[in-house]
């Protein structure tokens, strides 16, 4: 049973660039949430996707956007990167339709903005 997978594992970008991170949910899950984790901090909720729509959003600017595909996988896009966007980006999946909403996390993508 495959768990949550994310790609790439590491990424280096420069200020002003754009980045796309990818997530495949745990087998059987239909919901994907994205979190940003700065060094030494707890994860911060970015947004959640269900039925290919954003249904909950945290306190992040519009530079952060996402998408969910029919196969439930998801992308996180960040435009106009800032140094402060350097962090571990975590994807978590859950099952809304089965009322099993425990969120299971992937290993994360570590983004460094120079």
């Amino acid at each position: 049973d495959a768990g949550v997978t994310q790609s790439p594992t590491h990424l280096i970008k420069t200020r002003g660039q754009q980045v796309t991170l990818r997530c495949s949910p745990k087998s059987g899950h239909d919901t994907v949430s994205w979190y940003q984790q700065a060094l030494g901090q707890g994860p911060q909720f970015i947004f959640q996707y269900y039925e290919e729509e954003e249904r909950q959003r945290g306190n992040f600017p519009d530079r952060f956007s996402g998408h969910q595909f029919p196969n439930y996988s998801s992308e996180l896009n960040v435009n106009a990167l800032l140094l402060g966007d350097s962090a571990l980006y975590l994807c978590a999946s859950s099952l809304t339709s089965g009322h099993q909403e425990t969120q299971y996390f992937g290993p994360g993508t570590r983004l460094l903005v120079l």
Binding site: V4, S33, Y35, G40, Q41, G42, P43, Q44, F45, Q48, R55, Q56, G58, L90, S94, T96, E101, T102, Q103, Y104, F105, G106, P107, G108
Partner: protein, 114 residues
Amino acid sequence: GESVGLHLPTLSVQEGDNSIINCAYSNSASDYFIWYKQESGKGPQFIIDIRSNMDKRQGQRVTVLLNKTVKHLSLQIAATQPGDSAVYFCAENRTPGSARQLTFGSGTQLTVLP
């Protein structure tokens, strides 16, 4: 700032002893709480969860206690092992009725001494 906070940033215990990690929350409407374990370089790993209609829940070597009167959550680990060394996060659900947006504290670093 975070409404979910931890009383101690670090905790050291002897191997074989019991560990207790504490967490305070401020949102009385939160109805779902989760404990995660995060090892270095990995994503958070689900340990145990509890709903607000419960006071206690037990898993394998772990027990979560919820005191809604004082808005306090604790994680007890029995017979702590070296593999338990990690950062532990409590998280609360900010969307009662549906576990969509989790709010995390800053974590407690648990170190198991030989």
